[in-house]
């Protein structure tokens, strides 16, 4: 009976995940999955002969309050790091389950397959935890976003991985307790070392991969306690995270290995070209307003700068004003704009931007030659022509929005500093380009005021 009820909750996970994939059904799908989780939890509480009700109840209450508080308070712009943090908690939970199992009894008495599961759960869980919180720190700005590299880094990581496998064998073959704790500690260190050399711009890929890992850690914990719903849920998430990871690296035209090991953004083959001496055309709000008012079609390209400045409502107001004047407005959403796939869609949806105005890369790019004005708000690498023209550029080959094919380009940006990837952008020095150096929200609001006064 218990097994059948657990099966129902596993089916809820599958149905929920499937419905999460469609715009109309997504919210419903999330709730179905949540119900499945609640069911799994209740079944566990009822069917296990729980001895320590106080401990369990306190844990559930504290976790619910902490998670609920964080989820309600977080701003939409900080969503990527929030997901990273939650993911880290999931990872450490699986590692702790393995740790509790080790403390319970004599490891030497457990069958080898359980020992393998214990070791795997601990290692993957600890790596997920440490890696997720480094990713959190980089996105939150607590840690520097640039890659942290030192000589021999890869050799050290490799040696660490080999050592971990060695202690893992010691756990499985000799049933050695001490080896288990060393194993967990080393996995935490590896989690930190594996993520610090990766630049902030690549964090979405890392989070997605760590999400997949946290699923695998849960599945391994499922093998430890022989629980099918845990194995099913873990395997589902493992597969989901992996697919998302590959879709993201594909959108950047890079391999996963390149993301993980290249120390992207510090040099590359040609290094960032030095062009600081070249002149740029600076624009005032009035220049922007005039350029926009003479256009028949405007394409807005949002990037992380829009998210940071919370400018989604300001951009919507400006677009409304333009549309009232009979100007066609579209938004071009590059797959890796922002810090997560779909990040820009979430923000623009928050500002009630009509769904039909959002174009993806394939829809937007062919329209650019017929577009009069492109307004780039806080995006950089996704419109960098180096990806098309300069084989020595680290982002060469990444699909971009070819905004330099449009009539005029207005770039709203805080400063001339290179983007998250640390690569200079020749677009800024293009004849067609006007640079408006300001906070995105202020820039858009000032431009709107200027537009109304024309």
């Amino acid at each position: 009976m218990t097994a059948l009820l657990y099966l129902a909750s596993s089916v809820a996970f599958i149905v929920g995940l499937r419905r999460l994939g469609g715009p109309r059904t997504a919210r419903n799908g999330n709730r179905i999955a949540a119900l499945g989780m609640l069911a799994a939890l209740v079944i566990t509480l009822v069917s296990q002969d729980i001895l320590h009700w106080g401990t369990v109840a306190a844990g559930l209450a504290v976790g619910t309050l902490l998670g609920g508080w964080a989820a309600v308070r977080v701003k939409m712009t900080a969503m990527p790091q929030m997901v990273a943090a939650f993911n880290g908690f999931g990872g450490i939970a699986s590692a702790l389950v393995a740790g509790a199992e080790v403390l319970e009894g004599d490891l030497a008495l457990l069958p080898p397959e359980t020992l393998v599961s214990i070791a795997v759960s601990a290692v993957i869980g600890a790596i997920t935890f440490a890696g997720s919180f480094i990713a959190f720190g980089k996105l939150q700005g607590v840690l520097p976003g640039s890659p942290f590299l030192f000589p021999g880094q890869r050799i050290l990581n490799g040696a660490l991985a080999v050592t971990i496998i060695g202690f893992g064998i010691s756990v499985v073959v000799a049933g050695d307790d001490t080896s288990f704790w060393v194993l967990g500690g080393l996995a935490l260190i590896l989690g930190v070392l594996a993520v610090i050399p990766i630049g902030g711009a690549d964090m979405p890929v890392v989070i997605s991969l760590l999400n997949s890992l946290s699923g695998l850690a849960a599945a391994a914990a499922g093998f430890v306690i022989e629980s099918n719903p845990l194995i099913i849920g873990g395997a589902l998430v493992g597969a989901a995270g992996l697919i998302l990871t590959f879709q993201m690296t594909e959108a950047m035209n890079r391999s996963l290995a390149n993301v993980l090991f290249a120390g992207f953004g510090v040099g590359g083959a040609g290094g960032p070209a030095v062009m600081e001496d070249r002149p740029v055309h600076r624009a005032t709000p009035e220049d922007v307003a005039i350029a926009l008012s003479y256009a028949d079609s405007v394409m807005i390209v949002p990037g992380y700068g829009l998210a940071v400045a919370q400018a989604q409502h300001a951009v919507r107001s400006l677009a409304d004003e333009l549309e009232e004047a009979g100007i066609t407005v579209h938004y071009a959403i590059h797959p890796v704009a922002g810090r997560m796939p779909g990040h820009m869609n979430v923000l623009l949806a928050e500002a009630d931007v009509p769904y039909e105005q959002l174009l993806d890369l394939e829809q937007a790019d062919p329209r650019l030659p017929q577009t009069d004005v492109v307004l780039i708000v806080g995006a950089n690498d996704v419109v960098n022509p180096s990806a098309r023209d300069d084989p020595s550029s680290p982002i060469y080959g990444m699909p971009i929005l070819n905004v330099d094919r449009a009539g005029r380009v207005i770039v709203v940006k805080r400063s001339l500093s290179p983007g998250f990837a640390g690569i200079d952008n020749p677009l800024f020095y293009n004849e067609k380009t006007m640079m408006f150096f300001a906070d995105a929200r202020e820039a858009l609001e000032d431009s709107l005021t200027a537009l109304k006064q024309l």
Partner: protein, 100 residues
């Protein structure tokens, strides 16, 4: 079949289901999907509750308690945050209807 073989079978089939279900998602929904999937990975709460509730060693009970807290943060936070994001995707008409 031994429990191990059953486990491996279940794992393999579930992974394939995961690949099939997820490969058709539009990019717009990737962020909520990642967040929702992340919440599902909190299913390790089952293991955490078992570990905390059945522990015989005091230290194991403490580790179990911490596991319950961490897994619950993952579950509750994950589903709530996903719901918040998806609420934004509802059309304005839907939201006005909801207000009435």
């Amino acid at each position: 079949m031994s429990p191990l073989l059953v486990g491996i079978t279940v794992f393999t089939l579930a992974a394939f289901v995961g690949f099939e279900v997820i490969s058709k998602v539009p990019p717009t929904l990737h962020t909520p999907l990642m967040s929702g999937a992340n919440a599902i990975s909190g299913v390790t709460i089952i293991g955490a509750v078992t570990a905390a509730g059945l522990a015989s060693a005091p230290l194991a009970e403490i580790l179990g308690f911490l596991a319950v807290v961490a897994a619950m943060v993952n579950v509750v936070g994950g589903f709530l945050v996903t719901d918040r994001m998806l609420e934004l995707f509802r059309s304005r008409a839907d939201r006005e209807r909801a207000k009435r």
